[in-house]
């Protein structure tokens, strides 16, 4: 699993790791059942303090995204997609909120915005089906 830390991020490193693991899952780069690098491998790869990686891994386990089997290693949980998707929907909703806020400031009406969204959905639909 490839993780890229952003040194100019406002988020602490362990949060960046958590965030990127989730992104990789949503992108389909890693899927349920995949083995993830050990804390040691990951900290060497990122040249990051192992305590930091371990903290991120614990949180991912707590959220049910990682599962660890003793002696076998750490894996992406089987029901990970739902978990991450749920959170993604929530995140989208927050983005929508911001978008509406900006639209109000820019004087864009609800109807105008709805028509954009309809248009975009249609375009997307054509491409996918």
């Amino acid at each position: 699993m490839h993780i890229l830390l952003n040194p100019t991020s406002n988020n602490p490193i362990y949060e960046q790791i958590i965030q990127q693991v989730k992104e990789r899952i949503l992108q389909g780069v890693v899927i349920a059942g995949d083995k993830v690098p050990s804390v040691r491998e990951m900290s060497a790869q990122l040249t990051v303090n192992p305590n930091t990686v371990s903290k991120a891994y614990k949180e991912l386990e707590r959220e049910g995204i990682f599962v660890t089997f003793r002696g076998k290693g750490t894996f992406i949980s089987e029901d990970v997609h739902e978990l991450v998707q749920e959170r993604e929907v929530k995140h989208l909703k927050e983005q929508a909120e911001q978008l509406v806020q900006s639209a109000k400031q820019a004087g864009v009406s609800k109807e105008e915005m709805k028509s954009w969204i309809d248009e975009l959905f249609q375009k997307g639909g054509e491409r996918h089906d």
Binding site: L5, P7, N11, S38, S43, T47, V48, N49, N51, T52
Partner: protein, 292 residues
């Protein structure tokens, strides 16, 4: 745990360390930062029992390092150059280290040399600067000591060997229950590696920072004003840089008063920026630049 208590030292009538006090928690990586001449190397040499403090105590796992010298078996100091070892061969050094460090793991030493593609014969002085740096780390980690003190481990090395060294340190810390103290000017490296930072200034501990909460302890804000940049802000807030109407300032996260000052002049821009250890370093230690 290493406890440094009220340690002072003067060398040639110059105060090098002045009432230094901090702790090293087990299993953590501590970064010691400070400008050149702040006393970092002296401090590391003292913790490893090479030089004695004039006053104060240093204890390792509750044992005084100068009264119970056997505790030194648990401490390795890796200086920024290996001049002292140069005349030994890669094999001879093992005998020497085994005397000083009874827990020295010879098999592990040679397996690491294999892993990093070292020749197993020849003198240490034949190694290149980068190999030498890596070699002294291999030697240090083979002692199975609980505490490893590194004086500028990546200073003057090319990026590839540097990355290799940092990787090696990270792996060792993950594998073993070892505590590391690193003195370094490479703040970007420490930012990723350290749990805890001790900032030395003129021989004293200026501040200690928990890396995890660094980004919660301070805020870096870009702020711009319609007219002139207010004098009040320049005087009363830590301004990292300022150019015309725009300035970048550093605030402690809970400094509501500072925030109020910034906002009272109705900024036309007020934006939080990513914070790095370098910002803290410049703020805490940069002032000296303009003195004298």
């Amino acid at each position: 745990m290493i406890e440094v208590k009220n340690v002072s030292k003067s060398i040639h009538k110059t105060d090098v360390l002045n009432n230094v006090q901090f702790n090293i928690r087990p299993g953590t990586i501590t970064g010691v930062v400070g400008r050149n001449g702040a006393g970092k190397t002296t401090l590391l040499r003292m913790i490893s029992g090479i030089i004695k403090p004039d006053t104060g105590d240093i204890s390792v796992d509750s044992q005084d390092i100068f009264q119970q010298p056997q505790i030194k078996q648990n401490i390795v100091f890796v200086p920024d150059s290996t001049d002292a070892l140069k005349t030994y061969t890669i094999k001879e050094i093992v005998k020497f280290y085994k005397v000083v460090y009874p827990n020295f793991d010879e098999d592990y030493y040679f397996s690491l040399l294999d892993q990093f593609k070292f020749k197993k014969s020849g003198k240490i002085k034949q190694l290149s600067k980068g190999q030498e740096a890596l070699f002294s780390l291999i030697l240090a980690f083979s002692t199975n000591s609980k505490y490893i003190l590194l004086d500028e481990p990546t200073d003057g090395l090319d990026v590839i060997i540097k990355k290799e060294i940092l990787k090696f340190i990270a792996e060792e810390v993950a594998k073993k229950d070892v505590s590391i103290i690193i003195s370094s000017h490479r703040l970007d490296e420490l930012e990723k590696m350290a749990d805890h930072i001790v900032v030395l200034k003129d021989g004293s501990v200026d501040s200690e920072i928990e890396m995890e909460s660094l980004k919660e302890q301070y805020k870096k804000i870009q702020v711009a004003y319609q007219d002139q940049f207010p004098e009040d802000v320049l005087q009363n807030i830590e301004v990292l840089s300022q150019n015309g109407r725009v300035g970048i300032v550093l605030l402690e996260a809970l400094d509501e008063e500072g925030e109020a000052i910034l906002k009272s002049y109705e900024p036309i821009l007020y934006e939080e920026l990513p914070l790095s250890l370098e910002d803290i370093f410049v703020t805490k230690l940069g002032g000296e630049l303009y003195v004298s």
